[in-house]
Each structure stands twice: as structure tokens, then as C-alpha cells.
Subunit: 339 residues, 2 copies
DNA sequence: TTGTATGCGTTATCAA
DNA sequence: TTGATAACGCATACAA
């Protein structure tokens, strides 16, 4: 069996067919000046007829630009990232770029290997979401790329070719706790997510700050860490509830966890929101699907994705001199039925 | 501002440093024979020290292999595809390949443009999920690629370099309807999804076949098409219910739609599953999150993703002579609480 | 306005 | 076991 394709038409083929030099065709394909309108039209028609498409990889070798971006996410199956990735890819497509998607799976070696792999592909830039790498490793991993956008990670020393975009998780948690306080809840639990997560840490900070502002003493027994999934949230909530049966509200690390919290409450004979109010984070589609509808800290994931891609493009194309290197996104609270 | 990176070390740099020719280094990096063990070790050490990584794009130009696969999906934000993509990417990573992800957004021109874009990147193969292109367009779009895997689309004429993998949606629907029949339901509605979807068509076929086998006459008024999302399913169900108030079961196009069906039933004062049994399709994570837990037609999305990537690799690497060009995946019914 | 020579980083081919 | 040379397809710099 031979599955040899018919050879791809090259710029040379077109030049030969048009009886002109390579360069004339090259100029036409790149829309550069210096070709008579008549010739231009003739070549365009011919190229189209011959179904000629310039090889991006030959072009890349010559120009050092591949019109290609690396996108690192912990897990595309997580709706949080899936939604963002869609935003990234939409903008990429509009602007003629293509996305290399890699899942790190929260796995150390895999993330390092991913950087190496992308480096070999000579990408124009890389967008790194929620990297779990230690700060030193991360810095050395990204420094070699021409442009970098870091999502939900901060660098000690800002670098010229990297933009950092962060969700103000602390503010989000504060808004949530303030709302809970406002509806009269004072024994507020926190199902806090992974202890190693930067976001989790920032949300804990916000939680404490809001309690502090209301002069409520912090009770460590109201905190329970867990993996960022529904069932883990459910289990963690049972633990929390058995330790502090009088809790009258719970803030969850994310919406997935929040659903687990609600399940546990129901299993423990508590009504949501009457007995226990529940607030999630992120506002993924699930939040409006579940009953009671989830009150949650909202961020526009799709818009963030678009922003990530926009940012890396200004870094690449405009050399983005007058562009802020640090950007933060303020979430808002969406009040639905669970609190 | 200059964000010029330090130049990437090339094979020439390493050769010069090692006082050998390009070719020797090339042989070592590719693990090819014909280099003395001593030299090999010396060069390996040197390359490592100099942090040398071969440029995949130069290599691609020389070999016509880019270790790169295109992956077309309608929408990565759809958990069905997100889960599959994760499986694809996992295998790709294990095998040293990188994935170009593109969303077609169910949009005609965008899908065509995506094929063009991937063609220019000189990918080694493309995995196409649930293409919405008319058959002729699809065939002409894929024929130029060296290897193609088609998911949930069938070609009239099997081609040598394309493998087709399909979920047996008809069987899935049959299993669901048979179960419904088995628990005594006879007025079974179908919230059928998009009329243009191949899967929807196949599920309708299965639905009719199962009714037929049970000698129940087909009632078109029990069918309602809708977009494949929760709220659309909810609306469609209200329509269906107002037309056929005595329906005692509903099969939904997918799990998202099934949740909408359950919501509509509750809004219409029906209990699930007592008054109306509900069955979904796909078994996405949501199915076990929602209450009552969703009875659904199960497929292992992650495994399918892995299979897609495996298939394209055998097409590429083994020239897959003795490999079936058509493969079908039989779903199974997972009985939980909603039916 | 058009063309020629050269190089991008790598592998393939052939020679030593 | 090693090395020199020619591609791969395109763009840049410079000539005509």
C-alpha cells in the first residue's frame, strides 16, 4: 500500500507556471508592493487555480515566525479551562494564529517537558495557565520564549517579555463573605480547595480579610481543604459539618466543589439556602444548571481567554511597549438561589 | 525596548564546540548508528550542557514530518469534546506529538479555513470530530492530508489513508428505549437534538427501531428537535409536553439536554422518574452530579480520545496496512436514578 | 518593477 | 566511523 499524497505545490511550481521568478510570487503572496497590478492578478489567479498554499514551516524557518502559540493548561476537561481555551482559540483564529494545546495534568515533569516541546516547535509565544511549577523553575522555563502570558501566577521580578494576568481571587472571596454576612450568616465555612493552589490561598486571604473587617474571629475548624472536584467537596463538607454542626454558610473553592457542598448539606438534612447558604466561584455553566441555582463569584472565562490571546499578540506584534505588564481582573458576585 | 532573546543554540554550534561535523551531531541526536560510543557520549554531554534542542521546524522542512497533529472539534467548551480531547492529547504527549487544536464552532467557513490552515502547517495527520461539512466538501478537504481520522462521520467511499470511528448511536438509543419499555413506559418522547446532526439522525433511527420491535406505532408528535444545550432541551420539552401531556418517558439527545428535560418536567409538575422517566446520552461528569442522578447511554470519552490518536499514529507510523479502516464503538446503558 | 544570490537549521546522499 | 554537499520551501538583501 502506498499512501503517498500528491506532492504539494510549491512557490517554485507557481513561478515556473507563471514564467516569473520566485520572488515575484513571494511578493504577491505576502501582499508586498513592487509588482504590477496586472502581474499580481495573473499570479493570484494562477496560485488559486494551482491550489498553492505557502508552507508555514518553510516560511517559519526563513522568518523565525511560525504564527503559532503554545497554550498550557492543567486540564482541558475542567470546564473552567475549557471555556477559557475557547476564548483564546477564537482570537487566535481571527488573527491567523494556531494553538498548540498541552495539558500539564498538574504534573511537574509533564509541564517541564511541555515547555521543551514547545521550544522545539519555535512558537511565537506561550500562554501558561495556573502553572504548578516552583517559581524558580517557572522563571527559567519561560525566559527563553519570545513572549509569555502568565495566567494566575505572579513573578517576583517582572520581565519585559512577559505579561501577568490574574483574577483578583481575594476580592472575589471578600464579596462572597460580605454578602453572607449581609444576610445574617456568621458561622461561615470554607471548603478551600487544594492547599497548594495559588487561587485557593488568595481566596482564603479574602475570606479572612472580610471576617476580620466584620470583627468576627477566625476559626480554623471552619476551613477544610480538598481536591477541586464535586465529590471531594462533598466529602470535605461532611467533615466540616461534623466538626462545626452549626455552620450556617459555606464558601466553596469553585462551582464544582460548591455542588458537592450542596449535596452534602442535603444528605446531612440541611436545606440550602435556608439552613446553610452556599456560594461557589467561577460561574461555570453548571452554576445555572443545578438546583437551587448557584450564587457564585463570577468571572467571564471566555473574555479572559480572549484577553490572554490579545495580550500575547500585542507582546509579539507591537512589541507592546506601552502595555501594562500586570493586569488584574475583578470578579463580581452573581446572586441566584443558593445564598 | 529590545526583547531579543539570546539566540537558540543550533546543531552547528554544538558541532563546532565538539570539533566534529554537523552530521555526527545529527546522528547522535537521532540515535542513529555509525558513531563511536565515546564520541556519542561526549556529544550528548556537550549538547545537554549547551542546552541544545533540535528545531522541529528545520527538521520538518528536511524530513516532511512535523510530529504534529491537527484536531478539529466543534466546540472545546462542550464537555463531550473536552473529555475526548484530553484523551487525544494524553496519547499524543506520550508519543512525542503535539496537537493543533481548532474549534470549528459548527461554522462552515471556519471549518474549511481550519483545514487550510492545518495544511499550511504541514501536519502529519488530522483528527476531525463531528464535521458539519457536506460530504463532498469534506472528502475534498481531507484527501490532501497524509493521514485522517474521522470521528462520527462516514464516507461513502472508504479511502486508504482515512480511518472512520463511529459511536453506535443507534444501538445506544435502542438500549435506552428497550429499558424504558422494560419498566413499562410506552409513550416515549424524544428530544432529538439538532436535525442536522448525524448522531441525532442515528439516535432517531434507533428509537424508531426499538419501538418498531415492540410493535408500538411511531408518533411524530413525540419528537422535538433542539440545539444540544440544557436550556434548549428545557424549552423543547415544554413544547413536547404541551403537545403530548401523557408522555411517560423522554430520551434526550445528550446529557446536557437531559438536564433541561428534567427541569421542564419539574416545572410542569411531573416527578422524575415516577411520572416521567428520563434518559440522557454520553455520560458526561454532569450525569452523576445532577439529582436525580441521570440514567444515560454511556461511552468512555477519554478512551475514545485515546483511540482516535492511536489510530492516526498507526496510519502514520505503521502505514497501518492490516488495520481496520472502520471502527465502531458500542455504548452501554448506565442505570442510575432518572429511569 | 523584476530578478539573483544567500541563508534559515536540519537531514539525506554519497564519498572518504 | 566520519564528513562534505545538496536539498527542503521560503524570505531577505541587494542588483539590474
Amino acid at each position: 500500500m502506498e499512501n503517498e499524497m500528491k506532492k504539494r505545490t510549491t512557490i517554485t511550481d507557481v513561478a515556473r507556471a507563471a514564467q516569473v521568478s520566485l520572488m515575484t510570487v513571494s511578493r504577491v503572496m505576502n501582499g508586498k508592493p513592487g509588482v504590477s497590478e496586472e502581474l499580481r492578478q495573473r499570479i493570484l489567479a494562477l496560485a488559486d487555480e494551482m491550489d498553492y498554499r505557502p508552507s508555514q514551516i518553510a516560511r517559519g524557518l526563513a522568518t523565525r515566525h511560525t504564527a503559532t502559540i503554545g497554550l498550557l493548561v492543567p486540564d482541558i476537561a475542567n470546564p473552567f479551562f475549557a471555556q477559557m481555551v475557547r476564548g483564546v482559540e477564537d482570537v487566535a483564529f481571527e488573527r491567523g494564529y494556531t494553538i498548540f494545546l498541552i495539558n500539564t495534568g498538574e504534573h511537574y515533569e509533564r509541564e517541564l517537558a511541555a515547555f521543551d516541546s514547545l521550544w522545539q516547535k519555535e512558537i511565537d509565544g506561550v500562554i501558561v495557565c495556573s502553572s504548578r511549577l516552583p517559581i524558580a523553575e517557572l522563571e527559567s522555563a519561560i525566559q527563553r520564549f519570545p513572549a509569555v502570558v502568565l495566567f494566575n501566577r505572579e513573578l517576583a521580578t517582572p520581565m519585559d517579555h512577559v505579561t501577568m494576568i490574574n483574577i483578583n481571587d481575594q476580592l472575589g472571596a471578600e464579596l462572597a463573605v460580605e454578602h453572607l454576612l449581609g444576610i445574617g450568616r456568621t458561622r461561615i465555612g470554607l471548603v478551600a480547595g487544594p492547599a497548594t493552589s495559588v487561587s485557593a490561598q488568595r481566596r482564603l486571604d479574602g475570606y479572612r480579610a472580610a471576617l476580620n473587617a466584620a470583627k468576627i474571629v477566625f476559626d480554623p475548624a471552619l476551613i477544610e481543604y480538598c481536591a477541586p472536584f464535586t465529590d471531594d467537596g462533598r466529602v470535605a463538607t461532611h467533615t466540616l459539618l461534623s466538626r462545626r454542626p452549626k455552620a450556617d454558610a459555606i464558601l466553596a473553592f469553585n462551582d464544582l466543589v460548591a455542588v458537592g457542598v450542596m449535596q452534602a448539606c442535603q444528605e446531612a438534612g440541611r436545606r440550602v439556602p435556608e439552613d446553610i447558604a452556599v456560594i461557589g466561584c467561577d460561574d461555570i455553566p453548571l452554576a445555572t444548571i443545578i438546583r437551587p441555582r448557584l450564587t457564585t463569584v463570577h468571572v467571564d472565562l471566555n473574555a479572559i481567554g480572549r484577553m490572554l490571546m490579545d495580550s500575547i499578540l500585542t507582546l509579539i506584534e507591537c512589541e507592546g511597549d506601552d502595555d501594562p505588564r500586570v493586569r488584574t481582573i475583578d470578579p463580581s458576585l452573581v446572586i441566584r438561589e443558593s445564598a
